[in-house]
């Protein structure tokens, strides 16, 4: 709604508007092409589109990046928790072994 990209405020003129009055007077056909104004307008258009696409792409990259890094972050949290549990389990095993030896030795 309030885009940061500069916008065209007036409609682009059509090509024949600039070309028509110059035609056929001295036997020369005017080169049908784009007058400077149109070219400038076209360039502005292109720049605008480019800026919009670039901005969109950067937004997309950010959005996708954040989404998947969130998932990865959560996965890392899970891994950390899992390894903590593994350590806990090792401690439990050691404790059981210790007790097993004690029981063999007699209380």
């Amino acid at each position: 709604m309030n885009p940061t990209i500069p916008t065209l405020t007036k409609a682009p003129p059509t090509a024949d508007q600039g070309a028509a009055p110059a035609a056929a007077e001295d036997g020369y056909e005017a080169v049908t092409g784009l007058d400077k104004e149109t070219v400038a307008l076209k360039r502005t258009y292109e720049a605008e589109v480019e800026a919009k696409v670039a901005s969109d792409y950067s937004h997309i990259v950010w959005a996708y990046g954040i989404l998947w890094s969130l998932f990865c972050g959560f996965a890392i949290v899970l891994l950390v928790r899992g390894s903590r549990q593994q350590r806990d389990l090792q401690a439990l095993r050691r404790e059981l072994e210790r007790r097993g030896e004690q029981a063999v030795d007699g209380p």
Binding site: K52, V53, D56, H59, I60, Y64, I66, F74, L96
Partner: protein, 241 residues
């Protein structure tokens, strides 16, 4: 391959499925879906944003129902489910809100509007962040308090949505998401699948950890019971051998 998958279990399979679907979804989204005329390329964010928001609702419901079962039936299984779902819910909520803000910045030029869907999502996310906070710092009754919170959170989903909508009527703004053309829907499904598969995989991994934690607690408890009754020492260690 199948042996590998089996060793990973269901979460592994789900993660693998998500991993396979993701590139397919991406190429569909970027190569086979027309660029939305009004919002431009940035609308591609939508294909992963919407599944996250839906996932948020889904896991909020799962967590709420499980929490209700936990409270009314005293089910430990339900408690684990509620907890795991609550965490995934908070995760998806952050994802949905952040991607939404980025999308909004690209298309509307502002990361936040008072749109009903945004406020609904944000409120629900707050509820589940509160859930995590209470579960962590709630003291001896943390589990039950957090469960009640999840129940109210799930119950609040329609109420929140409705209240935000009527609140909106006093500050009217344009509709944000128009009805989608069918080709966009077609691209949405693989994205939805990828996100949900990934979420469910994480959910299940979390759930397993919750169960392991419980078993470890029980094992330590039983072990300390062995301290009290020397006669049981041998029995305990005998089993472990």
């Amino acid at each position: 391959m199948s042996a590998l998958l089996r060793s990973f279990g269901r979460p592994g399979v789900l993660l693998f499925a998500a991993l396979v679907t993701f590139p397919y979804a991406l190429q569909r989204v970027f190569l086979h879906t027309p660029i939305e005329s009004e919002m431009g390329t940035a609308q591609k964010i939508f294909y992963f944003h919407l599944p996250m928001a839906w996932g948020l609702m889904l896991f909020a419901m799962i967590s709420g129902v499980a929490a209700a079962l936990q409270l009314l039936r005293r089910s430990e299984r339900a408690e684990d489910v509620a907890k795991a779902a609550g965490e995934v819910c908070a995760l998806l909520g952050i994802g949905a809100l952040m991607s939404g803000a980025i999308w909004g910045d690209a298309t509307w030029g502002t990361p936040w509007t008072g749109d009903a869907r945004l406020v609904t999502t944000a409120l629900l996310e707050l509820v589940f962040i509160a859930y995590l906070i209470v579960a962590k710092f709630g003291g001896p009754m943390a589990g039950r308090l957090a469960a009640a919170l999840a129940v109210f959170g799930a119950l609040d989903v329609p109420i929140i949505y409705y209240s935000v909508k009527i609140w909106k009527t006093t500050h009217p703004k344009a509709q944000v998401v128009q009805s989608l053309p069918p080709e966009m829907w077609a691209s949405l499904w693989p994205c939805l699948f990828a996100i949900l598969a990934c979420s469910f995989a994480l959910f299940e991994l979390r759930l397993r950890q919750e169960r392991v934690e419980r078993r470890l607690d029980e094992a330590w408890l039983a072990l300390s019971a062995g301290d009290a009754a020397p006669a049981e020492h041998t029995a305990l260690s005998g089993r472990s051998a």
